[in-house]
Point group: C2
Chain length 116, copies 2
């Protein structure tokens, strides 16, 4: 547990996790990508074409969105002979959940006046 109340604690110190978290939040910040991600969650290891068929976007656009998700680490990519396979990276999803929980918990701690 972070010691947020020690005298030299600086909540604004360069936070390496924030940089990574910001990239993941950015990947989540588009309705189409949320749809794609949810599809991948419920139907693992999809190919690009299948996703195109469920989203009203051009194939090239979907490919771009998938690339964003992959670069953020939220989705794993396995190029296959005929059709590539995309699947959710549950670790990354858990990581961003943890990051967000950290914010919310800080708030909860503050509201309850809790000290270490």
């Amino acid at each position: 547990m972070k010691d947020c109340f020690s005298p030299d604690f600086d909540p604004l110190a360069a936070n390496a996790e924030d940089a990574r978290a910001a990239r993941i939040y950015a990947a989540l910040a588009h309705e189409a990508r949320l749809r794609i991600l949810r599809h991948l969650i419920l139907q693992d290891a999809c190919c690009c074409k299948e996703i195109v068929s469920t989203v009203d976007l051009a194939q090239s656009t979907v490919s771009q969105h998938l690339k964003v998700l992959v670069q953020a680490g939220l989705v794993d990519y396995r190029p296959e002979r005929q059709s590539s396979r995309y699947s959710v990276n549950s670790q990354a999803l858990n990581a961003i959940q943890t990051h967000l929980n950290g914010l919310v918990n800080d708030l909860a701690d503050f509201c309850s006046g809790q000290r270490k």
Copy 2:
């Protein structure tokens, strides 16, 4: 609980929550705004100047970032005589946490092969 396994469930149906969630994720998708938000969490009801002093950015830039957070609903804004007051909207923070939990839980349910 959403019935994700009913025959006519469509995970890709237009999801009104996704639009709002995407806006909030976008607000979180910047390191400076994460810093600002964390500062507001640990030190409620800050004025703009105080935040400027903790982030290496121009006052106008900070003001813009605050505007993004306010428009996303993550931060409340109360213009004051001398110095405006910004404070975290815990409801919005909880809402986005719930949205993210929804994704993660869907994944967990899928992995465990759980059915209703």
